[in-house]
């Protein structure tokens, strides 16, 4: 079968102030009608750039410097602007990542649909309106007649992305490029949108290029996959084959680094392709550490009926105000030396719990006991603050861009009065060495480091005060899979060697399974189940826990990593209820 879209040796370059940056280096792939072709890689791999190049939407000053793009046999890459514009919509279209910004907020859904339909198809207004209605129905939007006249801001995220899909389809293109179409959506909605894309592709024999960094999405949605790294294609082929029996070293290590839901690993396999990051010297760190005594039976934290409300709808009269119970009567213990996980979807309140424990919010009700002493908001919490620290989610926002790295690391210890002067400088240098960045890094600014390196700086900052308790709020959600493994291994080492007690917040169930001893499941501000990790994953009791577990991506096709250095796999979990 002749491929619908054929890309051969595509090269895209961006001239910058410091030389030419090659975003895509001789990449080739092809897509057949009805095929969903995944394009996977970590950030900087060039996958989005390929999508933009095919659409003719490359950001200035990028341009195609080599290779060809053929659409239905015709060359597309060398065309001028008006010719490319004629193709867009009619032959090839694109789904963007963020549905919030993809739709013009000032026009109704009907207006945007009808406009696109009448631009490309020769139909009357009435017919166009009918088609719009049919499309909304097909993409699964309830009450489409009413919703046609709504504005984008009146739809939720998942619904909005369905509208986007309808818009993309209404001009009847042959090829669709979907650039991270579900990354900005809630986990529970992601699967639905991906299924929709799959059905539509088969139904209309449309070729889809699905760009993503998520292996689970690749495993569950695509027929073929192309793996990219730093602008080059590493491996390409049918999904089952590439994921089940990868041939390229990079693909192998990428797959190995994906946390598995069905086994408990002792350590995370790291991506070793492309050179290692400098190691983390945990033994040296542990030698100079005041390790606390740990009695695993005794609780370090006791949290009782913690409640926090936020004002959702302000009004002049108190009775008209609407509050949102972000955290609603949550109670649990954290034992000394344990890793306690909290899982939930976005907006469930898990981050708010972390912030309440960290003293960043004042609870509206409930009690918090640390080491048998109550922590009261408003009192002098210096002694408490010396013993806790936090690792944040976004490495690009957790470091002050205008502060030098050494100042960033020194700040907590200095402000809490633990160290000063030469001792402080010495501690900072030592920590920078231990986390593998080198003491010279102290003179630099955060923007000179990668995401993974920044997270190490964050860790160094947290360790400077030698805390007893570490709160990790989604510490790896914003990182590439390869870096994720590194950071998680570091956190595991820290916890074991330094007798740290940890609170681990995440929405990523496989990661939680590897990291935590006990887990609490939180739904809309309420703790619905607390159990030992293995118990939760093998025999969940609460219906919501079962629901969450069912949303985990099925990674059965993925090659099982070489487990000789890791713990033996447990029996596979039973099928979800």
């Amino acid at each position: 079968m002749t491929p619908l879209l054929e890309i051969k040796d595509l090269t895209v370059e961006f001239p910058t102030r410091r030389g030419i940056f090659t975003a895509v280096d001789k990449a080739s792939l092809s897509v057949a009608p009805g095929e969903i072709h995944g394009l996977v890689g970590e950030s900087g791999a060039g996958k989005s750039t390929i999508g933009a190049a095919v659409m003719g939407l490359l950001q200035r000053p990028g341009h195609i410097t080599g290779g060809t793009i053929n659409l239905k046999g015709r060359a597309v890459s060398g065309l001028d602007r008006s010719a490319v514009q004629a193709l867009r919509g009619r032959e090839i279209s694109m789904i963007f990542q963020d549905p919030l910004t993809s739709l013009n907020p000032l026009f109704t859904v009907r207006q945007q649909l009808v406009e696109t339909i009448t631009t490309h198809l020769d139909v009357t207004q009435t017919e166009a309106n009918q088609r719009a209605l049919d499309l909304l129905q097909r993409v699964g939007i309830p009450e489409p007649e009413m919703r046609l006249d709504h504005y984008p801001h009146q739809f939720s995220g998942g619904m909005r992305q369905r509208v986007v899909i309808a818009l993309v389809l209404c001009s009847e293109p042959d090829v669709i490029i979907a650039d991270e179409p579900t990354t900005a959506l809630d986990v529970s909605v992601q699967a639905q949108v991906l299924d929709l894309i799959k059905d539509l592709a088969r139904e209309r024999q449309v070729g889809v290029i699905l760009i993503t960094h998520n292996m689970g999405v690749i495993a569950n949605t695509t027929d073929h996959v192309t793996v990219m790294y730093r602008g080059q294609v590493m491996e390409s082929g049918p999904t089952a084959q590439v994921l089940g029996a990868p041939s390229h070293a990079y693909t192998k290590s990428l797959i190995a680094a994906v946390p598995r839901p069905q086994i408990k690993q002792h350590r995370f396999a790291q991506v070793s392709f492309g050179g290692r990051e400098t190691g983390f010297q945990i033994a040296d760190l542990a030698r100079n550490w005041n390790k606390p005594q740990v009695d695993r039976a005794k609780p370090l934290f006791q949290i009782e009926a913690l409640t926090k409300r936020f004002l959702q709808k302000p009004a002049l009269l108190p009775r008209n105000r609407h509050y949102l119970n972000a955290v609603d009567g949550v109670s649990f213990d954290i034992k000394q030396g344990e890793v306690f996980g909290i899982v939930g979807e976005s907006g469930s309140g898990k981050s708010t719990v972390a912030r309440l424990i960290g003293g960043l919010h004042r609870p509206d009700a409930g009690h918090l006991f640390f080491d048998k002493k109550e922590i009261v908001a408003g009192a002098d919490l210096t002694a408490y603050r010396r013993q806790i620290q936090m690792i944040f989610q976004d490495p690009y926002s957790s470091l002050n861009p205008r502060m030098r790295v050494d100042q960033i690391i020194a700040e907590p210890a200095r402000h809490l009065g633990l160290l000063s002067g030469k001792d402080l400088r010495h501690r900072v240098d030592e920590l920078l060495d231990r986390v593998g960045l080198g003491s010279a890094a102290g003179q630099k600014y955060p923007h000179e480091f990668s995401g993974g390196q920044r997270q190490r700086i964050s860790i160094a900052r947290a360790l400077a005060t030698q805390p007893r308790f570490l709160i990790c709020d989604e510490p790896t959600s914003a990182l590439d899979v390869s870096i994720q493994a590194q950071i998680l291994n570091i956190l595991k080492d820290l916890q074991e060697h330094l007798n740290l007690t940890m609170l681990f917040i995440s929405h990523d169930l496989p990661v939680v399974r590897q990291m935590c001893d006990r887990v609490g499941v939180i739904q809309r501000g309420q703790l619905v189940e607390v159990a030992q990790t293995e118990t939760l994953f093998t025999a969940p009791r609460h219906p919501y826990s079962r629901h969450l577990l069912s949303l985990m991506p099925r990674l059965d096709e993925l090659a099982t990593p070489d487990l000789t250095t890791l713990s033996a796999p447990v029996a596979p979990r039973p099928a979800p209820a």
Binding site: M55, L57, Q85, A86, L87, R88, G89, R90, S93, M94, F96, D98, T101, S102, L103, N104, P105, L106, F107, E115, T116, T119, H120, Y151, H153, Q154, F155, S156, M159, V164, L167, V168, S171
Partner: protein, 324 residues
């Protein structure tokens, strides 16, 4: 949405009351209020009577309320300098300023939007660069210099247009208009250009930067990806989204026009409210200053309220319908 409108109306009333307070304080505490009200020619009996009527020994709040009450009826006292009731003077001078502001405003807003859109769409063309450079000069030239320059070129050297005054005006039932006579229209040209040019430059640069910002948005890229033509994207999507923030600032610009009229009227000796105000400041004519203040406050507040209402009408996100 209703609560939003209500809040804005309440805010407007509060603003007017505050301005009234400032005006009243000026009235009461700067100079002698008796002088302000009676002018220079008065007798001792007048003073005593007025003192009793004004109730100058009454609490501040009572006097303030009386002042506001008077103001709402149009009674602002007597001009210290001219000896005439202030309200009469204001009524006399208002048409001149309003007509000037109208013509300049149309020029500034109309041309400003057109040129702003053009330089945004064709941002790399040489015409756009020339216009932007000239506009930079326009923003750097104070209004009075533009006026002087125009007078020098068109009045003194070329002798085409008059350099001061309004020309002949026709009286339409209390409103003296310059639109109906040739000399009136001729006299309007230079002041209107002077006043409008600066404002037009500002509006043009604003529209251009807003439009460039809109053109960078994702929904424009998506529209392009769907194959809509550049013309449709520019004039249907981008323009509509640009005009929303532009409306707010344009409203403020109208206020700016009325304020900058002060300068223009000074340069051209245009007999409007602006010239009146400047003279009042120089002679410390409190009643006129206070009255001018209150009058334009009402104008500004009304314009702002209108702009806010317009904003709600144009941007559906402001209408507060529940999202699902």
């Amino acid at each position: 949405m209703l609560s939003y409108i209500l809040r804005r109306v309440v805010q407007s009333v509060v603003v007017l009351l505050i301005v009234g307070l400032v005006a009243f304080s000026m009235f009461r505490f700067m100079g002698d209020p008796i002088d302000n009200l009676l002018g220079v020619e008065r007798t001792v009996e007048d003073i005593d009577r007025l003192r009793a009527i004004l109730g100058l020994d009454q609490p501040f709040v009572v006097q303030y309320v009386k002042f506001i009450g008077n103001a709402m009826q149009g009674n602002f006292g007597v001009s210290y300098e001219q000896g005439r009731p202030v309200s009469a003077i204001l009524a006399e001078r208002a048409p001149a300023t309003l007509e000037l502001a109208l013509v300049s405003g149309l020029l500034a807003i109309g041309l400003g939007i057109v040129l702003g859109v053009y330089t945004a769409i064709r941002r790399d063309g040489w015409a756009a660069h020339v216009i932007m450079t000239v506009s930079l000069v326009g923003v750097s030239l104070p209004t009075f210099l533009i006026g002087i320059l125009l007078i020098y070129v068109f009045s003194v050297e070329l002798n085409w247009l008059p350099s001061f005054g309004r020309g002949d005006t026709t009286d339409l039932g209390g409103w003296s208009t310059g639109f109906l006579t040739t000399s009136g229209l001729k006299a309007l040209i230079l002041p209107a250009i002077t006043l409008g040019l600066y404002q037009m430059t500002l509006i043009m640069r604003l529209v251009r930067s807003e439009m460039l910002e809109v053109l960078r948005q994702d929904y424009i890229s998506f529209a392009r990806a769907r194959g809509l033509s550049e013309r449709v994207i520019n004039f249907r999507h981008a323009l509509k989204n640009t005009l929303v923030p532009v409306i707010t600032v344009t409203g403020l610009q109208i206020g700016s026009i009325i304020a900058f009229a002060i300068i223009t009227e000074t340069v051209f000796q245009w007999p409007g409210l602006g010239l009146l105000f400047i003279n009042a400041i120089q002679f410390v004519d409190i009643p006129v200053m206070a009255a001018y203040l209150m009058l334009i406050s009402v104008m500004f507040v009304a314009i702002n309220l209108l702009v806010d209402l317009l904003y709600v009408a144009v941007d559906p996100r402001m209408r507060g319908e529940a999202s699902q």
